[in-house]
Symmetry: C2
Subunit: 192 residues, 2 copies
Amino acid sequence: MNTVDTRTKILDVAQDLIQRVGVNAMSYRDISEAIGIRNAGVHYHFPTKDGLITALLERYSDDVLSLLDQIIASPESAETKLRRYFALFETTLLSGNQDKACLGGMLGAENESLDAALTEKVANFYRANERRLAVILVEGQQSGAFKFAGDAETMAVLVFSTLQGGMLLSRVKGDGTEYRAILERLVRMLKG
Amino acid sequence: MNTVDTRTKILDVAQDLIQRVGVNAMSYRDISEAIGIRNAGVHYHFPTKDGLITALLERYSDDVLSLLDQIIASPESAETKLRRYFALFETTLLSGNQDKACLGGMLGAENESLDAALTEKVANFYRANERRLAVILVEGQQSGAFKFAGDAETMAVLVFSTLQGGMLLSRVKGDGTEYRAILERLVRMLKG
DNA sequence: ACACTACCTTACTAGTAGGTAAGTAGTCCT
DNA sequence: AGGACTACTTACCTACTAGTAAGGTAGTGT
């Protein structure tokens, strides 16, 4: 179906735009021009902008979390799993003109200009990441790879915060390598 | 002068709005309605939006950095200085409806829809924070309060990343206490 | 009394925002 | 062949965007 293709194209372009310029700087016109259809054609697939962003976040969340689950299920060490998780977002950061952030981060920053249901979905995406990070951290704690005081849950929130903040800083400063340096240092701290 | 008052009011309202909804969701109309003058009256003080945001960032940067310098110059311990630095941003986060982020963070997220000069100013704000954080970290390292491997500069970038990411997460999840928990944990990690 | 300036106002512009109603070309099913 | 469905199109809407030109007015200095 050509429909599916167009729908996917819309989501792809919208995601790219939001990761670059943010939700409020992305318009239906930008999308329609990028894929070569008319403004109303985009509205046919996604009647409202909130609906489009909701669909986008769901797709993104499913993609990221399933990749993350694959990493957790792999037979590798906790340290390797953590690094592979970090690399997931590094790929986004280093793609194209090195100006793309995490979709969740962008939606989080602009969440007050979104509707309440979307804010909750963004929060759930964060929590889902943190839960999975906690699993990796506990695994590393038990294997002796990670040594840190206190509960793994709070540490997971800290790690996710550093990841999101690291992407922000790295992108603004135009230095894609900084992200890696930050998280490499974090891994070393976790190893004790 | 009434001029100064209006100019200050414009900056205050604009800052509040940007910290809440972001740069692109804030309009001259929002500002004019909030302070009770007409749209053109705002343009009298700040002809262009980029100019307004530039002035805003400069004021914000000066404010934050001078407070930070005061903290560094105080006779307190490095650990206390670090906590007071974190508390600076916590005040913003917990003010009003607990929906305000760091201005630097918001401008960083939406930096691609700003002009290039502004992006550089945001990056410089980040670097200025990191430099001052590095001073505190070195001080703590020398006094024995902080124990960490590697250079203080990279650690300063990590700390600032965690701070920015922590604000983002805390705000999205609507839990203002999370920020404190994250940075408290970070302090404990730095103490070794 | 008069000019000058600072600080606004009214009234406007061109462009863009998200969104809609009605029409159309192609495809599928009976 | 006829009808229904999908995936668009053209043409339009109202509201809002940043920004401007010209005018008014209050206060100040001479």
